[in-house]
């Protein structure tokens, strides 16, 4: 093949670009942290760091599930209300012990994930619609179980430790999220199942013809997403002391934004777990920095600015990525 040499040079340069695309989020994150560290005295204080980590763990978990779903070429709009359902179920079960609350909340999420999986693989309903329906169903169930009000958790058991406790000086929710991301990364890069997710997202029909069990992999992905959302709900209930049936609205879109900021293509087939984590932290830190900025007293930006800034940020990232993709296609 006479063209091989030119092609591999081209491949190298485009691989380079892909690397930039995914590392750019990391660079942005580091820059933002440096900015905060220089500008605000207490930005790097243990208290602030731990608070940010504790609070964002829920979003991180939801985004991890979303990352896998998107890499498989799908989407899951139900994660937000599933988290709400998880929080209600775990709050209701919290009197029976922390573990039961934990398993119950995750189980509720798994049920929603299972419903999605069945609708998508058995009934061939597009993921967007299926998860939209699951979103409504989860919200309805949460409201029914909670009888339209928040459900206080039991303080007699250890349930609140899940969200509020520390282990080795590190918030337990952050431990949970870290372990989840490590496992997720391991799964994606070093197991056949993880590679199959990417293969299916890249070309589903081909994956089917190559003998991959497409339906099984997809089911796994939605099941994981639901379970992780349920887990986020458990942390939510435990952290705020109540199961919250109306929480979680809009979490799904926040999670999608984090995944996209992390450089994962919405068309599926490509993506990175750790870059998603960076995306979550990036969007989370914007809120944190806004608080500090107000604290400085120089300007008084209302909290409402955070969504404007997040939106702008998403736009910049997305436009940047689109330029990279265009370049790659031309190359």
């Amino acid at each position: 093949m006479s063209t091989t040499k030119g092609q591999s040079a081209r491949a190298r340069s485009s691989r380079h670009l892909a690397l930039i695309s995914q590392s750019s989020v990391l660079i942005a994150l580091i820059l933002l942290i440096l900015f905060g560290a220089v500008r605000y005295e207490k930005f790097l204080s243990p208290f602030n760091i731990l608070t940010v980590l504790r609070y964002n763990s829920m979003f991180a978990l939801v985004s991890l599930g979303m990352c896998f779903v998107i890499m498989s070429g799908g989407i899951d709009l139900s994660v937000g209300t599933t988290a709400a359902l998880g929080s209600v179920v775990s709050a209701l079960l919290s009197p029976y012990g922390a573990w039961i609350g934990l398993v119950g909340g995750m189980g509720a999420g798994a049920v929603v994930g299972m419903i999605n999986a069945l609708a998508i693989t058995r009934l061939n309903i597009p993921p967007f619609i299926s998860s939209l329906a699951a979103m409504l169903a989860a919200q309805g169930s949460a409201l029914l179980l909670a009888q339209n009000q928040s459900v206080s958790v039991s303080y007699d058991t250890d349930f609140t430790v899940i969200g509020q406790g520390d282990w080795l000086g590190f918030p337990i929710p952050a431990w949970i999220a870290s372990i989840a991301y490590l496992l997720g990364s391991l799964c994606l890069n070093l197991t056949a199942g993880g590679r199959n997710v990417l293969a299916i997202g890249g070309n589903e029909e081909a994956a089917r013809l190559m003998g991959l069990r497409v339906d099984r992999v997809k089911s796994f992905v939605y099941l994981a997403s639901g379970t992780l959302a349920g887990l986020a709900g458990v942390i939510l209930a435990s952290q705020f002391g109540a199961g919250q049936p109306v929480e979680g609205v809009g979490w799904e879109l926040f999670a999608i934004a984090s995944v996209v900021v992390g450089g994962t293509l919405l068309t599926g087939g490509q993506g990175s777990v750790m870059a998603t984590l960076a995306g979550v932290m990036l969007l989370g830190l914007i809120f944190n920095i806004l608080n500090f900025e107000n604290g400085l007293g120089w300007i008084s930006l209302s909290a409402y600015w955070q969504s404007v800034i997040r939106g702008l940020f998403l736009m910049v990232v997305v436009i940047f990525q689109s330029r990279l993709v265009v370049k790659r296609q031309r190359a």
Binding site: R195, Y304, G311, I319
Partner: protein, 885 residues
């Protein structure tokens, strides 16, 4: 030729029916060990059905399969592979983003300690590819390599399964001659290692190079099986078609010979291209073309043939060089530009950028003509019908009616519709990129014949083809491209295939273009194409084989599809459309029977009022989804409009006369929301950002903007003049219901009757095809998102008017999903290309009525959510089922 030992594969008496119609009847196929066996037949002869039965894709109705002497029955391609039968499909079915090594080992990865062993897989992949003389970096994504290399990888994968039989379905269709040679070497290697190959191809010449024996299929039967050496090409063709060809004299194509007349006196060429370069693919290409001339463009794949065509057509822009068209410098900025200059372009890949599959023959045929068929943007359907009827007749397009979706037509008939798309515009220059690829023999000859007719009528034709016969017999002159440069021109008949191939391969510097003397410029009649077609004579004068061939086009495999959609399909289609309506009526009936006070003006008004906003937003959403997009920002845009209106009529910024203030409060917020919608469209078209991500930006930022502009405070007001929009009840009907009906009516009318509506759906159905038919795709998208913004703005005003207050935190919250739910229950598919505004109205009414019914019967609102979820799932499921039928 009985094989010395028992054959590897014996299929006999295979029957297969699709809904009662036989696709295969008593078909057989025997393949010896280490034999390369050709399987040929026209489109729909049953080749693919037979192969799919062998590989477990379909199950047979009757018959016997013996593989290596043992009965063979598998139920999935996967199982077939595990049992030694691998298939390489026409479209390479690998995963483009994943690395070469990963593609080879996908599904049976090597592991160490339970985790993937990347190193071992890479080294084994390298080793495997070396067997095929392929030295590439296996870590690179597959998509970075050429089609040929990708195909080699697919073959390597197949072989690595210890395959004993490899099936290749038209493996050479996307390879150039050099790559084909490499492929044939690989096949020889497989053969010498004892692997058998079934080789499916339309290209007869190739068969003689690699195959020993051949099986010919026709109408679901095996009609011939024997040694290739004893059969001539003509034998094969006549067996495939089922009757002796008229041109048994040896003509291979349907071009009409002998139109060559004396060279025209020096005249201005229709098109002259000088030293054109385009991107990396075209370096310095030159060619020229006279009216009435067929100019062939030859070159290996990747030689820049298609890029030149696309540049002439304005789909790509030249980086250097000049084009002169009709005597003036020519640099079209877009396909629309080129079309208005009288150029048409049939692309290489019908499915990718030719047809709009969901649309009818009628609409596909007139897609480029639409702007000429309209007055003030409204399509003149009478004129449209006439044009379509004329071309269906003159080109003998076989379809059940002009309303049949084009995807149901055979390849040849699709191509004719695409030709008609340009011919009805009366073009001066027609560019044909592989005009007969993937078309069965009969239709192929018809199309070639037609091309000759057109040129005789004065049309200039630039024909790109990989088939030497087509080039040599069809063209008056042939230009040869090599690596983006014109390396030769042939103008003396007969043009030698060998000379062209030599030039393609080695770039012989026999460029005789110093003073091009066209050997042939078509006949004296310089009428345009349409006049030729209008007259009954050309078709009547066409060679007699064209007509009798047609019936064979209607092969058994196609019949099921056609009859189903012909009668049953229409019925199912109607059921599906009216299913939503029936559900609505059922709901109303239930309520009439069981819900007290249902039949009251008040109940009616309550339900109507509640549904208005969803429908108004849903109208915009329907249009957006019709283009294949989605708009998540509508809820936030409602909040923005709702936040702005009170600021205006409460004179917070400037004080205005009351009437003016109220007036502006109706107009400005809606326009602002529309502008934000336009911004969505701009992001999508300018940066090619996916709609879901692009509108996610304003979903997040938009509510923030509304909150910031009101500081997050609730703005309460009492402004009766403004609140008319939510509280007014002329003749007892809520004002917003009137607004809603107005929006629905306008949008439905627009979709049905205007160019904009048709072009919108074409954009959603196949964006690239629409773009190449001159549809201003980007503008349409921006307008559609702007309309969606306008609708959202209107709904925002109504919400705050009803509430007597505006709360940026709540206005429109979750509306995007409500609207999407209404659209999907209403039957508008998410894939784009079809849209029903009335369906959205009905969908929203159903969702609302269900909720009302549950509430009225004492079931809590939360449970209604769950029911709503099941309705969405159910509706979409039923619609999807109806479509797949």
């Amino acid at each position: 030729m009985p094989a010395p030992t028992q054959p590897l594969l014996q299929m006999s008496g295979i029957d297969k029916h699709f809904s009662g119609i036989a696709a295969l009847s008593s078909a057989s196929l025997n393949v010896g060990r280490g034999e390369v066996h050709a399987l040929i037949g026209q489109n729909g002869a049953g080749k693919s059905t037979l192969i799919k039965i062998l590989t477990g894709y379909y199950t047979k109705d009757a018959g016997e399969i013996l593989f290596d002497g043992q009965p063979f029955a598998v139920h999935s391609p996967n199982a077939a592979q595990a049992n030694g039968i691998s298939t390489i499909y026409q479209e390479i079915n690998l995963i483009p983003y994943r690395s070469v090594a990963e593609n080879i080992f996908l599904g049976r990865e090597h592991r160490r300690f339970g985790l993937l062993d990347w190193r071992r897989m890479a080294s084994e992949a390298e080793e495997l590819l070396l067997r095929f003389n392929l030295k590439i970096d296996v870590h690179q994504p597959l998509s970075h390599y050429s089609t040929a290399i990708q195909q080699m990888v697919a073959i390597a994968r197949a072989v690595s399964f210890q395959a004993r039989l490899v099936i290749m379905d038209e493996p050479t269709s996307s390879l150039d001659d050099h790559e084909v040679a490499v492929l044939f070497e690989v096949i020889q290697q497989l053969k010498s290692s004892g692997v058998s190959v079934i080789f499916v191809s339309h290209k007869l010449d190739e068969l003689y190079v690699v195959c020993e024996r051949v099986t010919v299929m026709r109408d679901g039967r095996t009609v011939l099986s024997g040694s290739l050496g004893s059969l001539s090409k003509l034998d094969l063709v006549t067996t495939m078609i089922g009757r002796a060809l008229d041109s048994a004299t040896g003509e291979q194509t349907g071009f009409r010979p002998g139109s060559d007349t004396a060279p025209m006196e020096e005249s201005e060429p229709l098109l002259r291209v000088r030293n054109l370069s385009v991107g990396r693919k075209v370096a310095s290409a030159s060619l020229d073309l006279q009216p009435g001339e067929i100019v062939g463009l030859a070159g290996l794949l990747g030689s820049g043939r298609s890029e030149i065509a696309r540049t002439i057509f304005g789909a790509e822009s030249a980086s250097a060089g000049e084009m002169i068209y009709q005597g003036t410098a020519f640099a079209p900025k877009s396909p629309a530009n080129a079309i208005s200059s009288g150029i048409g372009f049939c692309t290489e890949d019908r499915k990718m950028d030719g047809i709009v599959p969901e649309m009818s023959v009628r609409e596909n045929l007139t897609l480029a003509l639409l702007p000429h068929l309209a007055r003030a943007g409204i399509v003149n359907e009478e004129a449209q019908r006439l044009v379509v009827a004329k071309f269906i007749k003159t080109l003998q397009i076989k379809c059940s009616s002009p309303e049949q979706p084009i995807r149901e037509l055979s390849g040849g008939n699709q191509q004719k519709v695409l030709l008609a798309r340009w011919l009805c515009l009366n073009p001066k220059l027609l560019i044909l990129d592989e005009p007969t690829r993937g078309i069965d023999v009969g239709a192929k000859r018809e199309i070639q014949n037609l091309i000759s007719e057109l040129a005789t009528g004065g049309l200039g034709v630039l024909m790109i083809s990989s088939e030497m016969e087509e080039l040599v017999e069809g063209s008056d002159r042939v230009f040869v491209l090599r690596e983006g440069r014109t390396v030769a021109e042939f103008n003396e008949h007969p043009i030698s295939e060998d000379a062209i191939m030599a030039a393609m391969a080695d770039g012989i510097s026999a460029l005789k273009s110093t003073a091009p003397t066209p050997t042939s410029v078509a006949a004296v009649t310089r009428g345009n194409a349409i006049q030729v077609l209008n007259g009954a004579s050309p078709m009547a004068a066409s060679p007699p084989e064209a007509k009798p061939l047609l019936p064979s086009d209607q092969s058994p495999a196609q019949i099921p599809a056609e009859t189903k959609t012909g009668r049953l399909g229409n019925w199912a289609e109607r059921m599906r459309r009216q299913g939503v309506l029936i559900a609505l009526l059922a709901l109303i009936g239930f309520n009439l029977a069981f819900t007290p006070h249902f039949l009251s003006w008040q109940t009616f008004n309550v339900n109507l009022t509640q549904v208005c906003n969803i429908v108004i937003v849903g109208v915009g959403m329907t249009l957006v989804i019709g283009t294949g997009g989605i708009d998540l920002s509508v809820g936030s845009l409602m909040a923005i409009a709702g936040a702005i209106a009170p600021i205006i009529f409460q004179n917070k910024i400037v004080s205005l006369p009351a009437a003016l203030g109220i007036g502006l409060a109706f107009v400005v917020p809606v326009l602002v929301a529309g502008a934000f919608g336009w911004f969505n469209g701009w992001l999508i078209t300018r940066f090619r950002i996916q709609p879901i991500v692009a509108t996610l930006i304003l979903f997040i930022a938009g509510r923030g903007i509304a909150q910031v502009s009101t500081n997050g405070n609730l703005q309460a007001f009492n402004a009766p003049a403004f609140q008319v929009i939510g509280l007014g009840r002329p003749f007892g009907v809520p004002v917003q219901a009137l607004i809603m009906f107005f929006f629905v009516a306008v949008a439905a009318w627009m979709l049905r009757f205007t160019i904009f509506g048709r072009e919108l759906l074409a954009t959603g159905g196949n964006e690239e095809a629409a773009r190449l038919a001159g549809v201003p795709v980007n503008r349409i998208k921006r307008v559609v998102y702007a309309i969606s913004g306008l609708c959202a703005g209107m709904a925002g005003l109504i919400v705050i008017a009803i509430n007597s207050s505006s709360d940026a935190n709540l206005v429109g919250l979750g509306m995007e999903l409500d609207a999407i739910a209404a659209v999907s229950v209403g039957g508008t598919p998410f894939t784009g290309g079809r849209a029903s505004v009335l369906g959205t109205l009905v969908g929203a009414l159903i969702i609302q009525l269900v909720r009302y019914t549950l509430l009225a019967n004492g079931i809590p609102d939360a449970a209604a959510l769950v029911v709503k979820a099941s309705i969405i799932l159910g509706a979409v499921f039923i619609q999807a089922k109806g479509r797949s039928r």
